[in-house]
Symmetry: D2
Subunit: 344 residues, 4 copies
């Protein structure tokens, strides 16, 4: 694969996982990026199609054979913990990095240690930009390192940030989240066996024990106006029997506005944001509306007539807007391309 003169060469570390393979698919159709290498320890020397017959027919190389200093950008799709050193090496070589792991998402070192338990370069962490595309474009544009948000935190943030920015919600935020099985990764396990996952719905880590909770709370704090009360989060994730897609249903107190007024706030907030659709009142977000796209759909409904709650639903594709799609959207921003490039 040779890069045409008007394209930018990029590399993908960890291309055989679900997010990596999606990213390769997107990049291979992108008019301005060309993939210089796609690595996989397990499948080095084989085509990515060996992993998934629907994937791009690209040869995977061993990470030791990937020269990150020869590309302009590196996407790291490695497991948490393995990513941090690869990010550091890539940055040292001069490439801009979009990290799809959790290694640089949490700003606070102590929280990072508690949640992930793995070492990282804290100086790099301090300069990392949390790449929630719709709300961080200016900072992403200049970033050397973008920490690409997690799938649940992306879906949740898109659902609440317009309200949070104005201090409209009161906690606790009750977030019920449903994820397709691809969210559990490609490694075979008893949990992801077809016969265990089909015909089932499986809650897991409900309450506040999922490691995405601190990332969600960090976002809520980051986008809250100064002096706004904290918004505690109760996050109840479930595995549902479908491959791709994710839905959050968030119930929160909305003391000062009607749901219809909140709907207007959202319509305004997302005007001009191509990847976010705010549905008309009366409709609900559905996974089918967004699967295999980089779109998010958001809907707002009344909660309870006497208690002034709102119910916000938001759906995204966990592997695209929740991972590889947002990563490419961020890369488009970093390199000055239209954000829809390769994603429409």
């Amino acid at each position: 694969m040779t890069a045409a003169s008007n394209t930018h060469s990029v590399g993908v570390l960890g291309a055989s996982g679900s997010s990596g393979a999606e990213l390769i698919r997107l990049l291979s159709k992108h008019p301005r990026f060309s993939v210089s290498f796609a690595t996989s320890r397990q499948y080095a020397g084989h085509s990515l199609r060996r992993v998934d017959p629907a994937a791009v027919d690209i040869e995977l190389c061993h990470p030791d054979d990937a020269d990150t200093s020869c590309v302009e950008a590196v996407f790291t799709c490695l497991p948490h913990g393995s990513s941090a050193p690869a990010v550091k090496r890539s940055r040292s070589g001069g490439a801009r990095v979009i990290d799809l792991s959790g290694d640089f998402r949490l700003r606070d070192p102590e929280t990072h240690r508690t949640v992930y338990g793995s070492p990282r370069d804290e100086q790099l962490a301090a300069e990392a930009v949390y790449g929630l595309s719709e709300f961080a474009e200016a900072r992403v544009r200049e970033a050397g390192l973008v920490a690409n948000p997690g799938c649940y935190p992306t879906c949740t943030a898109l659902a609440v940030v317009p309200a949070v920015k104005r201090g409209l919600l009161r906690g606790p935020l009750i977030i019920n989240a449903l994820s397709g099985v691809s969210g559990a990764g490609r490694t075979p396990s008893a949990k992801t066996h077809f016969c265990a996952a089909v015909d089932d719905v499986r809650p897991y880590n409900v309450g506040s024990s999922h490691r995405h909770v601190p990332e969600i709370e960090q976002s809520l704090r980051a986008w809250s106006p100064a002096g706004a009360p904290e918004l505690p989060v109760i996050f109840n994730p479930h595995l549902v029997p479908l491959e791709r897609g994710m839905l959050v249903t968030i119930t929160a107190s909305l003391p000062s506005l009607t749901p219809a007024e909140l709907h207007e706030v959202y319509t305004d907030a997302y005007r001009g944001h191509d990847f976010v659709d705010v549905l008309p009142m009366g409709e609900h977000a559905r996974i089918r509306a967004v699967a295999r796209t980089n779109r998010a759909v958001i809907a707002i409904a009344p909660g309870h007539p006497r208690t002034r709650h709102a119910v916000i639903t938001c759906a995204i594709d966990n592997l695209l807007k929740g991972a590889a799609g947002q990563a490419l959207q961020n890369a488009n921003t970093m390199f000055g391309f239209p954000i829809q490039e390769g994603l429409a």
Copy 2:
């Protein structure tokens, strides 16, 4: 089908719907009940197997050919609105009736009118017993008419009544509910088309607009101690891509107990109740644990360390514990049989 001398003859009105067919399957294996008639307007003269190849091979008759005065019990599995007159006729003929429709569930005439909009005999309604099996055994035993609870209200009530009885929860109850597609009935529609329902999760009627909300609120009032504050309900139902089963994930404020203490309350409350399993702390209710059974599984988890919430998950099979199974359990109680008879 002739009834042996030691069996009780029963009839099923509306046997070709999902609940009716399940009930026929259960009754056909029950050692003490024998089915005298199973009616269907649409399939009269045909075997129930024409509707579903997995169903019992029983001939359906036209409702006009079913003599409800010749049986000891009638199960009505008719649509809301059509059921009320059939219940009245059946009661007039002397049979005890288990009504699986919504026609006699709401005690308050005004609420009934608002929710269902269909006429009913209010005297019959006044004497109907709301048949939430685990908590109404004594009244069901003597009942002439049992209003069999709805699927969502059953699942929700089993999840909260032990706490509600002691006034332990504070509202609003945030109930996120997931139902398999069989909950939408057997009538073909755009919504239940395989290609619309598969690979999707679809919220509908979120907030407080689902017609099961008043039934849930009625249960909460009925089992609350005198003087307890009202518990507003925010009920967010979703369709998930599986055939059978239902899960509720309920988040509520638990001001005075720890979740572990609440777990003890539940373990005590359900001791001796064969159809309800309270899982150990750390586990969660899953649909696979209960599909095709009359069981409910319930789990309790901490919500948020600072806000003292609990998250309660409960799973049932919507067609069994949420419809036909509970109906038979109630019939067992009415006729003095062990409640497991035909349901184990």
Copy 3:
């Protein structure tokens, strides 16, 4: 939607069905075609997204409001029988037509009558080109009317034509075919209800009673060398519980070659055909490899050591290569565009 000067305006009749909606999706991204109208009797005045939340947000118009004389090409995605008159009107107005229905697929008037029973203009039928893209490019290029092949006939023809052209197979061809539920159309029915189709495999019209059999036999005759013996077809279709995709597994006598030699024949035959992949010996065609693409994958395996049979598997997406994708591929050919345009 205004057509840029370098684009060709097209219309789609019957845009709310499964194939029509797919076609709209493809056309809306095609750089050289622009959609002037998309009709639907049932949904006129509404967005196509009302039918499917994943569809393009295009407004549907009533067929009476669609002027087929103002476009350069018309795609008819109407039901069999309804299509023929629309095709005639469109041709009369001067547009080139790609007909996705069965109305012009069968050349022989008598066979057409027997199979479809609906009238058509036999002169139009005589000039229609059967648009099996990979084998009819020259004729399609000049065609005024292309009869776009059926899904099963496309999948079968791609699987056997290279062998049939050389007279390598002996009948009967035993064709076992599996189709996702989208093949049954979007109209709700007992058969396509989620709860009937999930967890089931359902054979239907096995033997030679499916209406695609005469179309398959016509193809076999058309591509057989002069004097080759007839190839009787036993065609066993089944519905399988997935939305999209189709697989045929064909067993046939291969008297004069080994399967490995046949594999070489296929590799040669499809060299340079971008949409057809012949897999290495030892692999099999899978639906996942082709779903949501215009690709076909074909594999060849030995049948039985003593009897000299071959087993050929071929998979396509029934709505793309089996309908809308092939239609667009044909339109690309008709208008002189690269066949991959809008389909890669």
Copy 4:
């Protein structure tokens, strides 16, 4: 678990696999058998429910702690190769054995070696009875060791033995077989991952390379009349995206009878066989009709008007009639119980 005086104690070796867990479920409801031990190397000391929340809550013990000499029957649900020594030990201890593995299915030692490659006691093999329940009742009744047939061979044999016994079919038999994912076992693998198996159909080992082919051929020879021509088999298995159930669609030459006449032969052959339903002409076998039961349904259809073929479809539940159900049916026969006991 103590055995009542009128029950027979049995043990299950390998209870945590799919077939073993099904067998435990059946045995736990059986009025005449009581389970003395259920072994699992991996889950010893845990409840079977740890493996599957829908399973019976029975404690698994280590195989070293299971005394096979204290039970009247042993069911071996171990992997091929591991089963043979366990069978030998169990027989030595005096128990009658039903072996669900492939270790004693193939009578010919040479074929066994070629197919399974694992050693076995050939004397035991010589006395093993191949337990195709419907056709081997007399021999099973007296057997010390029953080799329980494989799932595909059971489904195929039920579909053809009535015709084969009369020498009505001519080969090759083209057997297209579809199996739910539970047929691939419970061990997690890339192939059984939800995201690989859903939305796919996957042929594998087509032709004559599947290890069930020799077992099928052995059955064909065993039930063919003396002097009948051999029936070569082309066996094309596919994985389909559902958990349970299996369907074979068999196309074969039927030179001397019409399909309708063959249908009569089948109706006669299976009269009085409670677990086999021969459907009326015009219907087809479906997986939904048999899933979670010990039933088989069989249908016969015309193949091709000119070539005199028949198409036979047969569906069973692979884990029940194709494994644990047939094993229990055989045990019922061995102990003189009605064959429906515990299986109705």
